[in-house]
Amino acid sequence: MKESTRNRLFTCLGGLSVVLMAIYLTMREGDVLFRAQELSLFLPTRQFYSDLCIYPGGTLSWLGCLATQFFYKKTWAAIMLCLIWWACQGITSRVFRLGAGWNLLALLVPIALMACMTQTGYWLYYQKLSGHLMVPGIGVLLSLLATWIYRTLPERWGLCYGWMVIWGCLGYPLFGAYSFLGTALMMWPRQWNSRVGFFRKAFPILLGALLIRFTPGFSYQHLYSQVNADELYRAALPTFGLADQDFPQYRLPYYALFASLIPAMLTTLLPERKRKHWQTGLIVSIFCLSAGFWGLWKVWYADVNFHKEVRMALAIERQDWVGVLRIARESASVEPTRMIVMNKNLALFRLGRAGDEMCHFANEGAMPNAPWIARISQVGGRQLFYQYGRENSCYRWCMESGVERGWSVETLQLMTKASLLAGDFEVARKYLSILKKTWLYRQWAERYESFLYQPERIAEDEEMGFIAHLMPEQNRLDGDQSVVETYLLDSFISETKDDTLFQEMTLLCALQMKDIGLFWPRFFEYARRHPGEHIPTHYQEAAYLYGHLEPTVDISRMPFDESVRKSYADFMAFNERCGNMSLEQKKVAFRPAFGHTFYYFYFLVRDIQTL
């Protein structure tokens, strides 16, 4: 095989690998990418750019936000990732003049970039760096591009060194720490064993070292006023710390990203003869890529509950309540998080099936799979507050999130809707004017803008009209202490409103709180408001159970379904047979026959941890 054909073959192989990786990522994590796009914001305005540029690396962050928008569609995401990764791979090959076989080493860069994205998990909700998913890819690409330009410029008149200085000085304010990568690559000699003099080898190293040492300090003194001197060398890199907790394990893919160029760099140490030996290159590449893919597989965050939460959030936005329940039923063997349980309860209520089916699903709550406490208030609390008519709380948590982690499409949308429902139209107009500046949410903003001119239509809107029923009637002062579920239960229980949906919600809250005293008045109110209608099963089960537990209410003349009486009798009989079992043993024993009853929920679902 001719050398040129072989080169082409390996180049195509590298390109094909990148395409497959991008397609696989977008197919598997498309919903997470879409969610990332919602939790980001890009405005094509000077002000938006200026706001990001108060920190070094602001331009890179801006590019990251720009690119993140393209996660809106899987096809766009795949094409964009293909282009960026392919460019990274191609330029790496050129910069280090990787021949056939060896050029597959350049695939390590896309693999590391993919790892930076796929490890994210709950950081999606906590990361403070704007455009964080796309910043590494663009940052590395620009650094490689700068190095390639450096390599193509002649040494004559110091042109390449001039470029190095330009990059070193401008790169830091524009691209933050990624500029150091570019400078470091330029410092690396083109060919170690070439016969150039010591000074010519040493000069770029010295120049680069000076640039890396002094540019951040100079920028700190003269360009920036809000940068901590201790964090100058981490500009445009994500932070993986929360309050006093630090999670260094999340930095590993970033170390791997910077290290992914080392094998390619080391090839320049080899004599030209060996660099042309494609078989050796292929073996080395296969070894390195195997290690890379193993690392990628190890850091890929494949948590079932996290993905269910993400998909549920999207289904709720689409008002696809059946979809929410379908997702809730998936992977039944994995205990769901409280977020999933709450989303499920919301969907059942919206479909009018909560009274019959609330206990048909798992109702406990696993802790989210994160090394810190991923609170509901941070993950999906604002959406829940909005859906449950707590519009001031929704607004508040959107504001807190926006302040702490930057503004996003989601927070602006929720703040708009919460403000419309609360009657705060002028501030809704402000958020709509911002959303109208985006490329992808302008239509959404125009739709909601129409409510400003016809506020009476809010009550007719399918989504907001329903939520209006759940809004409190009387104002009061309180606080949620950052515990969403408890706050929602307490606030519904402590409020009253002459509204059938609101009343049923308070009954459901009483059921979830397992409080007999709170249950009866709400049960009677439900019965009064639904004369002649069949009382949902769980309400009957609760009444039948409470009537037996505390006979303060005479249930003898209540028309319970025969199935309710029978399941209660069966439950109690079975309970007598399982008298000596532990709670965990009982759960297993009771679940098949009684897992769908309120009795099971009342007696065996205990110590729910809601955070």
């Binding site: 002000q47 006023s225 710390g241 709380s393 926006g402 302040v403 609360a422 409190p472 104002n475 002062l477």
Partner: protein, 497 residues
């Protein structure tokens, strides 16, 4: 092939020249138009406002639906015409306009399906009274518990230049966050400044004639470190309130949050002696927002009396009865030689009319006292009903400052050094984000229609997700750099006595 390429180049050149010429074409006011008779909706609302000579160009957006927009600003012989929805006079054009006469006339023409129409013209009045050249403020998102990026900034009012005096992120990390607040100056002097740093590296930074230090104002004799400051006009003294606060959230009310003092009092800090002197007060009294008279002989402040129900913790009790807290305005005489205060005197009894008065600020000539009044409480920035009021201290007459109030919050206010301008914070734009507004003040105590702080881009404040907090005039820029302040803040605070 060569001819074809040449042809393409020529076409491209023509396009570039045409585009260039089109861009340079001076827009013209239509000759045929009909008068609409209605005032154009513009943002910010600069129609018929009075502005100082040394203010930055007022740029605005025409908030009307039209196919084309042409606007004309004229003053004397100077005429500037603009095309498009954004009317953005340059610095040079603005200087020409304001130098030509004391009135800038604004005409707006819109083209719709029926042709051109002219909106009702309006004017911008140029006052000969200059405004102080800088405005200092804190930029903060109107959040409730969290905070991230806080900056105390200074804005040059003759153009759009904004610089950070100090930003908290320079000394913050994820683990050790820092809050900053309550900047204040002695008589608008940028060399005599103070602000507080809370939490990480906390203390009060006091800069006095080139000497800057961080002090710890908390002593055993006071409730807290200093909070709301007031520099004595001439002495090296700062009066502070000391406060213990609590907050809770409204479930439905658009005021959203309620912040209350559970305890508060006043103290005096002697900069030269580094000494804290608490002011005597009743334990039921909630004293706050001190302010000196311009001669330095009186300390004004607001105070509410609240007797606690013993069955509840005071903070719970106050939160449950938050609407019962009514603040009045008081004053105490001050002997600068002995650093002693006289008994308190009632200045304005807001409680008697079921209201709560806060934030007294006295004009430089000592005649006018401006304050904020709402139905209850002390934290009026979150009270939609809060409005500005004015007391003539010569005769005690009080009136609502109707000409500058809006249906939304008006709260913090400050006088310019010549007493001709008032800056105040208002949420009239959207009800949630505070913006500084300026109003001209004449000798008789009446004010002109206020105007919003001009921005380089008309929609800047719509996109800005932060509030302007505590706008204060300064007569020049603060020279000490954020980096220098950061180094001082890193040092241990000097403990006050």
């Amino acid at each position: 092939m060569k001819t074809e390429s040449l042809m393409k180049c020529k076409i491209l050149l023509y396009i570039i020249i045409y585009a260039g010429l089109s861009a340079c074409t001076k827009p013209e006011v239509p000759k045929d138009f009909r008068d609409d008779g209605l005032t154009a909706d513009i943002y910010p609302d600069y129609a018929d406002v009075t502005v100082p000579r040394n203010i930055a160009p007022l740029r605005f957006r025409i908030e009307e639906q039209a196919q084309q927009f042409v606007s004309q600003l004229s003053s004397g012989n100077v005429v500037c015409t603009f095309q498009g929805q954004d009317v953005c006079p340059s610095q040079k054009q603005w200087e020409q306009l304001r130098n030509a006469s004391s009135t800038i006339n604004v005409e707006i023409y819109l083209q719709d399906k029926e042709g051109w129409k002219r909106k009702k013209p309006f004017s911008i009045w140029i006052s000969a009274d200059e405004i102080d050249p800088y405005l200092a403020y804190r930029l903060i998102s109107p959040s409730y518990v969290t905070y991230e990026d806080l900056t105390i900034c200074q804005r040059r009012l003759s153009d759009y230049q904004e610089k950070v005096i100090y930003g908290n992120m320079i000394n913050s990390t994820e683990k050790d966050a820092q809050c900053i607040n309550c900047h204040a100056f002695q008589q608008q002097n940028p060399r005599r400044m103070q602000f507080h740093v809370r939490q990480h590296l906390g203390g009060t930074v006091i800069s006095y004639d080139g000497q800057t230090r961080k002090v710890d104002l908390k002593t055993d004799s006071v409730l807290s470190a200093g909070v709301y400051p007031a520099w004595h006009p001439t002495e090296q003294l700062i009066a502070y309130s000391t406060n213990l606060t609590t907050q809770a959230f409204h479930t439905l009310d658009l005021n959203k949050v309620e912040v209350q003092d559970t305890q508060s009092a006043l103290m005096l800090y002697d900069i030269a002696q580094n000494k804290v002197i608490p002011l005597p007060s009743d334990s039921c009294d909630l004293d706050c927002f001190p302010c000196w008279s311009p001669d330095g002989q009186w300390l004004y402040y607001c105070s509410a009396k609240y007797e606690t129900n013993d069955s509840l913790p005071r903070s719970t009790d106050i939160l449950l009865n938050y609407e019962a807290l009514k603040y009045n305005l008081y004053r105490r005489s001050f002997d600068a030689g002995k650093n002693t205060f006289g008994p308190k005197e009632l200045v304005y009894d807001a409680a008697a009319i079921g209201q709560s008065a806060t934030l007294p600020r006295i004009s430089p000539d000592g005649r006018w006292l401006m304050f904020t009044q709402g139905a209850y409480g002390v934290f009026h920035i979150w009270h939609n009903d809060a409005d500005l009021y004015l007391i003539d201290l010569q005769n005690g007459n009080c009136r609502i400052a109707e000409e500058i109030n809006s249906p939304q919050v008006e709260s913090y206010h400050s006088w310019s050094s010549n007493g001709k301008w008032v800056v105040f914070s208002s949420r009239r734009d959207d009800g949630n984000f505070t913006r500084p507004f300026f109003a001209h003040f004449d000798n008789e105590g009446s004010m002109a229609k206020p105007f919003e702080l001009p921005s380089e881009e008309p929609e800047y404040h719509r996109q800005l997700m932060r509030s302007y907090n505590v706008p204060e005039f300064i007569v020049g820029p603060v020279e000490v750099s954020p980096q220098e302040l950061a180094e001082i803040i890193k040092q241990d605070a000097v403990k006050s006595q």
